[in-house]
């Protein structure tokens, strides 16, 4: 935080026209700390490079922010300046000068210092490349006491406009936050919020962020940070995980207190006291496994904090096992017994208790996670034929064309198909010349023509679809008008039905398949497709699908070699 303090004192004392702060981990956190530290000291406006995506928006945001003017609906959402100050850079500069003059006139005893804090300046570079150079020279162009602070994850070298148009910044490197800083931040946030009237006024019962629980929270934060710090050092991410877990973590303590209060029936005040060291230890032991699960789910934002907390409420039984049903919980006793009986019936004795609990939690997560949205529909919601089409499309996307005959071709002699022996020596195999061939699996799906898809689909259905072959046999009678004599002829007939094309069209509209040729081409024969991005092009998903269908997918992938 030393570097940040430097910036703060620099802006207070005498700022250079242009400061560049490089913070690779948590620029938002840095900006927040900066804004809090400089509150009421200088006039500061925070600009987001994402929301200010046109010059006009940028100019208006700066001017409104510096003048602390909020456009209101009643006066027609007027901006600070009456005239059109947002039509070009020089109008903006004039407005800025006028603003500074008016601020100085209003506040005569001291000179007003202005500062712009710009977040994500790399977006400005993408959207308005001409604007960045004048922005860095703003103080020079307006000739007022003004400082521009860019805060970015990206280095200045990657943003810098060409030809040296921008002046060199005063560089500040924010170091990666340490554990101590993160803990300090988390505790501070809770301290600030614990006195929040919204939380306190709801009931007389202590809420999870009660000031009395501060010490416990500190302990919790230490544990949480220990778990998460290896994977992320963004204070905001850890704060998010903490917000999801803490209420559940402290709930047994609060419940116990509530029971005590109810037992006392208002006769005498039951003093709420913070949990003892032993209880804390039990809580820790009980919830520690869920912390890393929380990280895996919440850090990549597979789900949100509320849903996760809901899905991960610890049930009374598992709490009781860890001795966490505090107070005299008479009502829960029976349930608890039932639960334990059930669990004893269900679970094998060899399995340890904690591992079972993790599994339960995992199962709960699987249901709540958005992974589900990818995997479940494919195996459960699609008709069987569509599943076959997806598997066929994956094979067609990944395998080279020349391999088809060897994998699926059946000669008259019924020779067993041969797959090229997978080359396992990927790493050692140095290319003779040119670049190394990368397995298609890692490069993503390649497009294939529709006929190839149909052909592979036919082969798959013929070999693996037992239902179809049974039907084939049973219906192979003269009553049917069609007469299939040659092996596979019936499948061939089946897979060229209109229904198949309709399924392909449907999958395309679901974007599980992607049509790479333009859609207005009516000539269906030249249409090219490939697997859609996401689930349908991931090996794992298709493998699951294929297992359900009984297709030996690993045998049908041409180049199965692993990397590295």
């Amino acid at each position: 935080m030393n570097s940040l303090n430097q910036v703060v004192s620099l802006l207070e004392l005498s700022p250079p026209p242009f400061i560049f702060i490089n913070d690779p981990i948590a620029p938002k956190f840095t900006i927040q700390s900066l804004l809090i530290a400089l509150q009421n000291k200088i006039r500061l406006v925070q600009i987001d490079g994402i929301s200010c995506f046109t010059p006009r928006l940028l100019y208006d945001t700066i001017l409104n922010g510096l003048s602390q003017h909020t456009p209101s609906w009643d006066d027609g959402c007027k901006n600070w300046s009456e005239e059109t100050s947002n039509d070009s850079m020089d109008s903006f500069l004039r407005a800025l000068k006028a603003l500074h003059a008016s601020l100085c006139a209003a506040n005569s005893e001291q000179r007003e210092r202005l500062a712009l804090v710009i977040e994500k300046p790399e977006r400005l570079k993408e959207r308005m490349p001409d604007l960045l150079a004048p922005l860095t020279r703003l103080a020079e162009l307006t000739r007022i006491d003004l400082s521009v602070v860019l805060v970015s994850e990206v280095r200045w070298e990657d943003i810098r406009p060409p030809l040296g148009a921008a002046i060199d910044p005063y560089y500040v490197d924010i170091p990666v936050p340490t554990k101590e800083i993160i803990i300090e931040h988390l505790v501070k946030v809770v301290e600030k919020n614990s006195s929040n009237s919204d939380l306190a006024s709801t009931s007389t019962m202590p809420h999870p962020y009660d000031p009395a629980l501060q010490q416990t929270y500190k302990h919790f934060v230490h544990i949480l940070t220990d778990v998460c710090f290896l994977y992320t050092n963004d204070p905001h991410e850890i704060q998010y995980i903490s917000a999801a877990r803490w209420p559940g973590f402290i709930k047994p303590v609060l419940d116990a207190h509530r029971m005590n209060v109810e037992a006392a029936e208002g006769e005498d005040e039951v003093e709420f006291e913070r949990p003892s060291a032993e209880v804390l230890l039990r809580l820790t032991r009980h919830f520690k496994p869920s912390l890393s699960l929380a990280l895996e789910q919440l850090y990549p934002r597979l789900t949100n904090a509320v849903d996760w907390a809901r899905a991960n409420v610890s049930d009374a039984a598992s709490l009781a096992k860890d001795g966490l049903i505090l107070g005299d919980a008479v009502m829960d006793d029976e349930e608890e017994e039932e639960d334990t009986v059930n669990e004893m019936l269900l679970s094998s004795p060899t399995r340890s208790r904690s591992s079972r609990r993790i599994q339960e939690q995992k199962a709960a997560q699987d249901l709540s996670s958005s992974n589900l949205k990818d995997t479940l529909p494919l195996s459960a919601s699609l008709p069987r034929l569509s599943q076959f089409i997806l598997v066929a499309a994956y094979i067609a996307s990944v395998n080279p064309v020349k391999s088809d005959l060897r994998l699926f071709g059946r000669g008259a002699d019924e020779k067993k198909r041969r797959r090229r022996p997978a080359k396992r020596q990927m790493a050692n195999a140095k290319p003779k010349s040119g670049s190394v061939k990368i397995p298609q699996r890692f490069l993503g799906p390649s497009p294939f023509p529709l006929e190839r898809l149909i052909a592979i689909l036919g082969a798959l259905v013929e070999e693996n679809d037992s239902n179809a072959s049974e039907v084939n046999d049973s219906r192979n009678n003269p009553s049917d008008l069609l007469d299939f004599r040659i092996a596979g002829e019936r499948t061939d007939y089946e897979v060229t039905r209109v229904g198949v094309y309709a399924s392909i069209a449907q999958l395309t509209s679901l974007r599980l398949l992607v049509r790479t040729t333009s859609a207005d081409k009516l000539d269906g024969l030249s249409a090219m497709f490939k697997c859609g991005s996401g689930a349908p092009s991931s090996y794992e998903t298709i493998l699951d699908l294929a297992k359900g269908l009984g297709v030996p997918l690993p045998d049908l992938i041409w180049d199965n070699a692993a990397m590295g």
Partner: protein, 640 residues
């Protein structure tokens, strides 16, 4: 604090080399009547300061020994202070007995002290320099002493190392600041920071010939003077690298003029087309030319009858131009009447190379044509057009018809300053004060500190390095910003080591200074990239990276290694967490996408290259010290 740690670590690490050095010392040619032991003492102080700087140490020694000895009590104290340092002993393995021996040996040798004193007298030319030379090595000694095994008799900060003839305030210089001077420090900081932003060109008085910039100022002065006083039409280009004082020179010249001209400032960065430039000209003219100033004939010439603001032809007409965007011919005629305004006009075109990109260069043409046809007398005032640019080929960029109207005058500024000159400027900057806000006592101490710091050999080296590459005084000034900012009442003086750190941050920036502090998944991905490059893949998709990391984790899990009961294998890392980390690295542009995002290609199949140097990855993983990561890296290197 940093300084202290550094010094102590040096003392320990460098002891072997120091040993050899002190053994070598008797062989040095500078040896005369002096005892070798003294030699060592003097040398030590220099060596610790800058272990790499051999020559300077030797030089100092030579100077020491050339001088006749005069004993003094103060210098003896210095020797005592130095003695307990383990580094000063010959055998680092047994520092204690040696030091004892050392102290025992002292009394019969009163000579060492005099040399110290004489050095003070001869080395410094001025009083201030004199002081700094003598005190800086001493300070080092005291700081060295702290980590030594025998605790020093006096605690470091208040050690009265200063020479006895100094003012009593010297004593305070090493410790923290007394309460009543805190405000002074703050205002001194403010003053210095303010001055660092506009470092003034200090005229080199002692040099016989003028510097390039002084010549430039002189030429420009003459040019503008001709325009203002004699009504000439002048045009010139002011060329010079960034930060070489182009704008400063112009402002200086304008402020020196006897009559206040109308100044129109345009910038190629802001006025990106002629329309905007024209509007800006009209705005600036109307702001500076009040109707009262306008002569009667212009007022009559104006189409409008009313004797109000509208009298100025530039008030309305150009604005109409903006609205109607009339052809450039009209613009030309409007610019042509600039000389008819009541005062001489100076048009400054910043980044003039960008104006040459405008279609047909019509603005430049109009301005230069007006300048060329400017005739003295007849009520017309002069007009000057000054183009400011860093591009040397700007003249070539001009079209033929524009070029023929340009006077061809080019004034150059230069950014090559010598280290000595830079030192002079910085001295002036660092000693600048706000009026009467700084306590006399404090400013005396401060100035001494500044003088001391500027004579420090390390700072000299930094300045020389910087000046040999860039002469940009602004970037030199930037180096001093962070040390000044770091001043606190507890440590109120500038130090050389702070400047070294600052030089690394501001000037010679490492590519990714934070790399080794990145978290575990990030480093995993970086090592995976390293391995992939070994395997001959310069660009990778996330799938491939994931495959590498997964393999590494699997391999590590196959043969679990335990150390003190803890597994030191690679920690599991789920695909989703890796993906989240991967996206963070993309947003930090450590991984750069080779192609833009597309609807049809999944994000995990886009190809990325790594912008981190391979060597940096290796170093940062080693610096990070995570044992399983180091192992991963070794495997990655081995897979080659």
């Amino acid at each position: 604090m940093v300084l202290k740690r550094k010094a102590s670590s040096n003392a320990i690490q460098d002891s072997p080399s120091k040993r050899t050095r002190s053994r070598r010392a008797p062989l040095s040619p500078s040896l005369d009547a002096e005892s070798p032991r003294k030699n060592r003492v003097a040398k030590r102080s220099v060596v610790v300061e800058d272990p790499s700087d051999d020559s300077s140490g030797d030089e100092l020694d030579i100077i020491n020994h050339d001088i006749p000895a005069t004993p003094s009590r103060r210098s003896k104290k210095l020797v005592e202070v130095v003695v307990p340092t383990p580094g000063s002993s010959r055998k680092p393995a047994f520092p204690k007995p040696k030091t004892v021996q050392f102290t025992d040996a002292l009394p019969p040798e009163p000579q060492p002290s005099p040399s110290k004193r004489t050095r003070i007298i001869t080395y410094g030319k001025r009083e201030t320099a004199n002081y700094s030379m003598s005190s800086s090595p001493q300070k080092k000694n005291v700081q060295l002493k702290t980590p030594s095994l025998t605790p020093p008799p006096v605690h470091p900060p208040p050690v009265p190392i200063a020479s006895p003839q100094r003012s009593p305030s010297r004593r305070v210089l090493k410790g923290s600041l007394p309460q009543h001077l805190h405000d002074s420090l703050t205002s001194q900081k403010r003053a210095v920071l303010h001055a660092l932003q506009q470092p003034l060109i200090v005229p080199s008085a002692d040099d016989s010939e003028y510097s390039t910039n002084e010549i430039a100022v002189k030429q420009l002065n003459g040019l503008l003077d001709g325009t203002v006083t004699r009504g000439e039409g002048n045009s010139c280009l002011l060329l010079g690298p960034r930060g070489s004082g182009k704008t400063q020179a112009i402002e200086l010249c304008i402020s020196n003029l006897k009559e206040t001209p109308i100044v129109v400032r345009l910038s190629g960065l802001v006025q990106t087309n002629d329309r905007l430039a024209m509007r800006e000209i009209s705005r600036q003219l109307s702001a500076q030319v009040s109707p009262a100033l306008l002569p009667e004939e212009i007022r009559g010439a104006a189409n409008d009858e009313s004797p109000k603001d509208d009298d100025n032809p530039f008030l309305d007409a150009p604005v109409e131009i903006v609205e109607l965007s009339v052809p450039t011919a009209h613009m030309h005629s409007l610019i042509a009447c600039i000389p008819t305004l009541g005062r001489p006009t100076i048009v400054i075109l910043d980044a003039v190379d960008l104006f040459t990109n405008h279609p047909r260069q019509s603005l430049l043409y109009s301005l230069l044509d007006t300048v060329q046809s400017c005739r003295a007398g007849g009520g017309n005032k002069g007009m000057a057009v000054i183009g400011v640019t860093t591009r040397m080929d700007t003249l070539i960029c001009l079209e033929k018809r524009v070029k023929s109207r340009f006077s061809g005058r080019m004034i150059r500024t230069s950014a090559s300053i010598k280290a000595s000159q830079a030192k002079k400027i910085l001295r002036a900057v660092l000693m600048s004060t706000e009026k009467n806000e700084v306590d006399q006592e404090f400013s005396a101490m401060w100035n001494e500190n500044v003088d001391e710091i500027l004579t420090d050999p390390r700072i000299t080296r930094i300045l020389e390095e910087a000046c040999s590459i860039t002469g940009d005084i602004r970037s030199l000034a930037r180096l001093f910003m962070s040390p000044v900012l770091n001043l606190k009442p507890a440590s109120p003086w500038l130090t050389a080591s702070q400047l070294e750190i600052s030089a690394e941050v501001q000037r010679i920036r490492p590519e990714f200074p934070y790399l080794h502090t990145l978290n575990y998944p990030s480093l995993c991905l970086l090592i995976a990239f390293y391995q992939a490059e070994n395997d001959g893949y310069p660009a990778l998709t996330f799938e491939m990276l994931y495959e590498y990391v997964r393999n590494a984790i699997r391999v590590s899990a196959v043969a679990p290694v335990q150390l003190h009961g803890n597994s030191i294998g690679m920690v599991r890392c789920s695909r989703q967490v890796l993906w989240a980390t991967f996206e963070r690295l993309i947003s930090a542009q450590i991984f750069v996408s080779l192609s833009g995002p597309s609807m049809n290609v999944g994000k995990n199949f886009l190809k990325y290259r790594c912008s981190v140097n391979r060597e940096d990855v290796k170093k940062s993983v080693e610096k990070n010290g995570h044992s399983s990561l180091t192992k991963f890296l070794r495997r990655a290197m081995g897979s080659h």
